[in-house]
């Protein structure tokens, strides 16, 4: 009987296992080193802040795995012999497979700074990091976070919840500058500052130094400043875990190289999730280190493994995050800097942390993407608008249908339209009435241009 072995019990590996199980009866085993059961990495911060315990972050009850005949093994895979199709575990045990899925995820980046391995200096990616952070933050009073991305801002929020002062070193001249346009970055920055974060923009880490007790006591920056601190959080991105793959004849680049079917160069070996690098004909290969993409890749691969060969196509891009109290969603593509041929319409609430940016092609007026802060939008509506090339006017007039805020929340579509009409006086847009009685998807929307 054929046996599917999956290395890594993160969202990607687990999704493969679950969907294969739905479609097939083959033996399934997941081998993973970090934790016995699948848990939600994205919820690490909530464990630290006491919103939840580790148990709450497990998306499935422990009995789920046995019930679905998915064998779990907590161990580290040391070697893969792709010729004989045998894995060697750290415990010495040997496991054979007929199909193998690499879902080994990512590891945090460290760029070789002096002192980066001192006690009190850490990254945040896995469960062990969380335990370490619990330890490191016990007596900490002042922390420095390096790298202005999502994990960094989560670390800041975690530390602030314990009353620790946070200074945030950001290489770019604004927060998350490689993703967010100026206005949005300002909004997030100001909100984070209200929560007590001190930003230092255009500033990089130089060295980390230790005190008499051997623990970190200060850092120096590229601007020549020295900052005293007893905690340093490094959040300068992640890279795929490829050590195992590389020594097992798999073709690797930055990640494990796969084609559109998530197949590696070796027969019956696949890679999904953070660790996979999808080769493209033109441009830079894609690595998608996200929860959502790991899930979608896993679903796709499960089809291929069970005989229904399916190409991975991410479709319309989307992502979301939360910066302290401000929620962010994006659909489609919104560039961080202006690009030729693409215009953007931006509206921001005068007082609250609410804003919307819609980008569109200058000539056709077809909408290409949206950033929204403080207003929740409906995923399927935006996906529909973007994939059907709806125009800016159409989208603005129907913005209400995309609103996903809880009931009784104040709506801003009117303000948005008014602002648009003011900015472009030749337009006299009005809000379309909500079509409560008709389905949300009508022919009219489909063909709207």
């Amino acid at each position: 009987m054929s046996k599917l072995v999956i290395i890594g019990n993160g969202i990607a590996g687990v999704t493969v296992a679950r969907h294969v199980r739905k479609r097939s009866d083959i033996e399934i085993m997941i081998i993973s080193a970090e934790t016995e059961h699948f848990f939600s990495r994205t919820a690490l911060m909530y464990i630290f802040m006491g919103h939840m315990t580790y148990e709450h972050t497990k998306p499935y009850e422990d009995c789920f795995w046995q019930k679905n005949r998915i064998d779990l093994k907590q161990d580290y895979v040391d070697e893969i012999n792709t010729e004989t199709k045998v894995l060697t575990l750290a415990s010495g045990e040997k496991i054979d497979y007929s199909q193998l899925v690499m879902a080994t995820g990512s590891q945090s980046n460290k760029f070789g700074w002096p002192g980066q391995d001192l006690p009190g200096v850490q990254t945040l990616f896995n469960y062990q990091d969380l335990l370490l952070m619990e330890e490191n933050s016990k007596h900490a009073k002042h922390a420095v976070i390096v790298g202005g991305g999502l994990i960094g801002v989560e670390m800041a929020e975690m530390l602030i919840s314990r009353g620790i002062e946070v200074t945030f070193l950001v290489r770019e001249e604004r927060f998350w500058g490689n993703i967010l346009p100026d206005d949005e970055a300002k909004l997030v920055q100001q909100h984070a500052e209200i929560h007590g974060v001190h930003f230092k923009f255009s500033t990089e880490l130089n060295t980390i130094t230790a005190g008499n007790n051997g623990r970190v006591n200060a850092i120096t920056t590229s601007t020549g400043e020295e900052l005293a601190c007893d905690f340093v959080g490094l959040s300068v991105g992640v890279h795929p875990s490829i050590t195992l793959a590389a020594k097992s004849n798999m073709a690797v680049g930055r990640g494990i190289l796969v084609n559109d079917f998530l197949e590696t160069n070796i027969a019956d070996v696949y890679a999904v999730g953070d660790c996979a690098e999808i080769e493209v004909v033109e441009g830079r290969n894609r690595i998608e280190p996200l929860w959502y993409t790991g899930k979608m890749q896993g679903e796709t691969l499960a089809r291929t493994i069970t005989g229904d060969k399916t190409k991975y196509d991410r479709g319309i891009w989307f992502n979301s995050a939360k910066f302290f109290d401000v929620e962010y969603q994006t659909y489609g593509f919104v560039a961080n800097e202006p690009i030729d041929g693409i215009d953007s319409f931006y509206w921001q609430h005068p007082k609250e942390n609410i804003c919307v940016r819609i980008t569109y092609q200058t000539d056709t007026q077809v909408v290409t993407g949206v950033n929204t802060f403080g207003i929740r939008m409906r995923h399927n509506i935006w996906q529909h608008w973007l994939s059907h090339h709806c125009t800016l006017k159409y989208v603005l007039q129907n913005l209400r249908t995309a609103n996903f805020d809880p009931e009784l929340f104040r709506h801003y579509e009117k303000n948005i339209i008014t602002a648009f009409n003011k900015q472009y006086p030749s337009n006299k847009l009005t809000l379309s009435p909500l079509q409560w009685l008709t389905k949300r998807f009508t022919k009219e929307q489909t063909n709207a241009q």
Binding site: S40, G50, S161, K311, I316, E407
Partner: protein
């Protein structure tokens, strides 16, 4: 902290805790402040049944006119007096073989039976002899006189009649448990005096008011401490909210209070006097143990409702529904019934309904409503219309939430005072299984019990299939009404979460839930594939629904138990969940779930072949 303007917050909150604790201690402490003195004057009004008064009075002699400061021993003495009295009732009142022998000796001497013999046989002046003489006279007067009966015949009749009389002694002469409970409470109340009733206002200020002010001093500054948003930091690290030590203490306190309320109200007599003037003003009669309960209950909803206003100040949904709960509790559940009493009308909570209000169809209620003219009739019709038409209609339009988290008093307490415990509900599949069996059983039980009571009401027949309908009703009242809804349902908030009763026990919730599950526009919509499976939604679901299980596979949530509190939607860091009364059908197709396939292209066989070259 980062902002100097917030320096005042910590000390104010700290003093708030101190005030609250002090107020709470005074509140508890006053329970030991009264003294008790049983006198002729206190006895009479307490035992309003003159026979019972006569019966028990001699036994209380030892306690009369003595001032007791120990409440427990005073109550125990009275309780013992009643139970000792009941234990010895038979001993005292039954016609013993010695009595019969003495009587028969006279009969033998005289050769016939005569009523005058009774007075010589039972020659003492007490109630027992009088009772025996009266009974024997009633039962045997036909035998008296010289009728030529043989001695053997007379002896046989007397023995026979004596055992007949003895069979009724207990029923006639003992005081039943219900009455004993009432008398003990009334006796303790009438014979107690103390500082609380003398200085009610003072005590009120230093207990209830002080604790309330303390609580508000703790709650309100929260508003200024940080921007609006989800505030769940340290919930699982604080023993007051994570089921730890402070939770256990709170639970013990609540359970004790409920036991006292339901079974031993005499122990909280000082609390009753604390609100007596208030209730005199409201209803013209004064307070009962349930008055102080209703008062604290309403106060808890208001104070903790204010906490909800502040905690969820960024969410109009929570602000409005909390406002609604406060309104219905304070006006409909608290004020209106008292005013109705004052107006000499049947007192009722117009927003409560059968089957939660399980005594709605009790004979006394039906009688009282149907004999109270138009207003009674209105209440009867209203009460029936509400659950026959109101529930299906509103539930179809808005889901279960229209009642359970916007109107209901039990839900109201859970949503406000119970909010700090919402995450303690059990989310396992097993808990869900138990929930479905238990809650629907309670509904069935309630229907059977009510049906039986109505059958008796209309036919006058007291038993069905050999089961006494009244005993069904009282069993339901004891196990479901008192033990389940009160002691477990609310007492166990700090351990099992704030919706134990609503989730496992409430028959009305079961009924509304069935409609919500099968015929309602309400659902929680899941936003595409945005879920990151973090688990906040499931953790903070007070009904123990594993929301994430649905959200992470893109399925809308249509569950019988969902009360629509909206907290899952609030705590979700990715904006995945929205409560809606949808115009389209919810996505609960079990073949569709788990798929984000609209995003993934599926190749045809030809395409596959060409790709593989």
């Amino acid at each position: 902290m980062h902002n100097n303007n917030t320096a005042w917050i910590a000390p104010v909150r700290k003093s708030g805790v101190t005030f609250f604790t002090l107020g709470f201690l005074v509140f508890i402490g006053m329970l030991f402040s009264n003294q008790y003195k049983l006198t002729e004057q206190t006895l009479k009004p307490a035992i309003n049944n003159s026979t019972h008064l006569q019966l028990i009075q001699p036994h209380l002699n030892g306690l009369m006119n003595e001032t007791v400061t120990n409440k427990i021993s005073f109550i125990n003495d009275i309780r013992h007096t009643f139970s000792r009295y009941n234990d010895t009732v038979y001993q005292r009142y039954h016609i013993s073989t010695t009595n019969i022998d003495a009587l028969l000796t006279q009969v033998n001497t005289m050769g016939y039976y005569d009523l005058a013999m009774l007075t010589t046989t039972f020659n003492s002046q007490d109630d027992y002899s009088t009772y025996k003489i009266k009974k024997l006279t009633d039962y045997t007067s036909w035998l008296a006189g010289q009728q030529g009966k043989t001695l053997a015949e007379i002896s046989e009749v007397i023995n026979e009649k004596s055992s007949e009389i003895n069979a009724h002694v207990l029923a006639e002469k003992s005081i039943d448990n219900y009455a004993v409970g009432q008398y003990i409470y009334a006796l303790v109340k009438s014979s107690s005096s103390g500082v609380v009733s003398k200085h009610t206002a003072l005590f009120f200020i230093f207990s209830v008011l002080l604790a309330t002010i303390g609580a508000l001093m703790y709650i309100i500054p929260e508003k200024f401490s940080a921007p609006a948003g989800i505030k769940n930091d340290n919930i699982f690290k604080n023993s007051a909210t994570n089921g730890g030590l402070i939770c256990m203490l709170a639970m013990t306190f609540l359970v004790l209070v409920y036991i006292a309320l339901y079974f031993f109200p005499e122990y909280i007599i000082e609390w009753v006097s604390l609100v007596d003037p208030l209730f005199k003003a409201l209803n013209g009669q004064g307070a009962s143990p349930w008055s102080i309960y209703g008062f604290i209950y309403t106060l808890a909803i208001i104070v903790m409702g204010i906490r909800m206003f502040i905690k969820y100040r960024h969410s109009n949904y929570h602000i409005v529904r909390t406002g609604s709960i406060i309104f219905f509790q304070s006006c409909f559940a608290f004020l209106l019934p008292e005013i109705l009493i004052k107006l000499n009308q049947p007192s009722t909570d117009l927003k409560n309904m059968w089957p939660l209000d399980y005594d709605f169809f009790d004979a006394w209620n039906l009688d009282s409503l149907s004999s109270s003219g138009d207003i009674g009739m209105f209440m009867l019709v209203w009460g029936i219309t509400l659950f026959v038409i109101g529930v299906p209609l509103f539930t179809y339009l808005f889901g279960k939430r229209w009642y359970c988290s916007w109107v209901c008093g039990c839900g109201g307490l859970a949503e406000t005072a119970g909010d700090p415990y919402r995450h303690l509900s059990n989310k396992s599949v097993n808990a869900w299984r138990i929930e479905r069996v238990v809650i629907h059983s309670v509904l069935v039980l309630c229907i059977i019990m009510t049906g039986a009571a109505l059958y008796t009401y209309f036919t006058g027949i007291k038993t069905i299939l050999g089961i006494d309908t009244y005993s069904l009703r009282s069993a339901y009242g004891f196990f479901i009404g008192a033990l389940f809804s009160g002691i477990v349902g609310t007492g166990f908030y700090p351990k099992l979460g704030n919706r134990v009763w609503c989730r496992f026990g409430c028959p009305l919730a079961a009924y509304i839930g069935l409609i919500q599950r099968y015929k309602s526009r309400f659902r929680i919509t899941t936003n595409g594939s945005q879920c990151i499976s973090c688990g906040n939604c499931s953790t903070y679901c007070e009904m123990g629904i594993d929301v994430r299980a649905y959200a992470q596979r893109g399925e809308d949530i249509v569950r019988a138990s969902c009360v629509g509190c909206g907290v899952c939607s609030s705590v979700c860091p990715r904006g995945v969940l929205k409560l809606e009364n949808g115009s389209t059908t919810a996505v609960i197709d079990h073949n569709m779930k788990d798929e984000t396939m609209n995003i993934v292209q599926i190749l045809s066989v030809e395409e596959q072949k060409s790709m593989m070259g």
